[in-house]
């Protein structure tokens, strides 16, 4: 079945440093979604990428979809303590449309 690898599993940064998490698939993806889960909370949708090479920005967050549509990244510029949480990528099964999540990257930001 559809699988996606997400790295790194954990990242500790000093406030103000940048952060990047990556998702990789062995198969071509129709689209990829990104979610953020604050500690103790539920995942919240951030964005969906559909087009090859697509880049979308949300304030300090930059999302990129690879040219081959097999990988994606989320980059946070100048992290803040409010960025703390776990970031998940999620991909759709080509047959059923069900959403499969990566293992997530947990970000800790030291003030």
């Amino acid at each position: 079945g559809q699988q996606v690898m997400q790295i790194p599993q954990y990242q500790h940064v000093q406030e103000g440093e940048d952060f990047t998490t990556y998702c990789n698939s062995s198969t071509t993806l129709s689209n990829i979604q990104w979610y953020k889960q604050r500690p103790g909370g539920h995942p919240v949708f951030l964005i969906q990428l559909v087009k090859s090479g697509e880049v979308k920005k949300q304030k300090r967050l930059t999302f990129q979809f690879g040219e081959a549509k097999k990988n994606s990244s989320l980059h946070i510029t100048a992290t803040q303590t409010t960025d703390v949480g776990t970031y998940f990528c999620a991909v759709s099964s080509s047959n059923t449309g069900k959403l499969i999540f990566g293992q997530g990257t947990t970000l800790q930001v030291k003030p």
């Binding site: 539920h42 995942p43 449309g97 999540f101 997530g104 947990t106």
Partner: protein, 112 residues
């Protein structure tokens, strides 16, 4: 606007006891519904998803079951809980097959 309600928020159950978690969605019709489980510090494991009333797809063989008695109601059940059933259970809905998911607040289950 659409909302999703999930309850109970927290529960502690003994091994071997039954379980029932309920989820309802308001403000939309014929949603796709999902149950995910998240073990402590881990990712989201898809347990069940449903594209319509009475239509349930199971992803992982286990002692859990799901039912969808009404269009916007999704229930997760177990007849006898195991220690390994502990975790954070999340209900979610979407309007399109590949659309974004909207999650409920989650139910934190501890089996002792």
């Amino acid at each position: 606007s659409q909302t999703i309600h999930q309850w109970p928020a927290t529960l502690v159950q003994p091994v071997g006891s039954p379980l029932s978690l309920e989820c309802t969605v308001e403000g939309t019709s014929n949603p796709n519904l999902y149950w995910y489980r998240q073990a402590a510090g881990r990712g989201l494991q898809l347990l069940f998803y449903s594209v319509g009333i009475g239509q349930i797809s199971s992803e992982v063989p286990q002692n859990l079951s799901a039912s969808r008695p009404q269009d916007r109601q999704f229930i997760l059940s177990s007849k006898k809980l195991l220690l390994s059933d502990s975790g954070f259970y999340l209900c979610a809905w979407s309007t399109r097959r590949t659309g974004e998911l909207f999650f409920g607040e989650g139910s934190r289950l501890t089996v002792l």
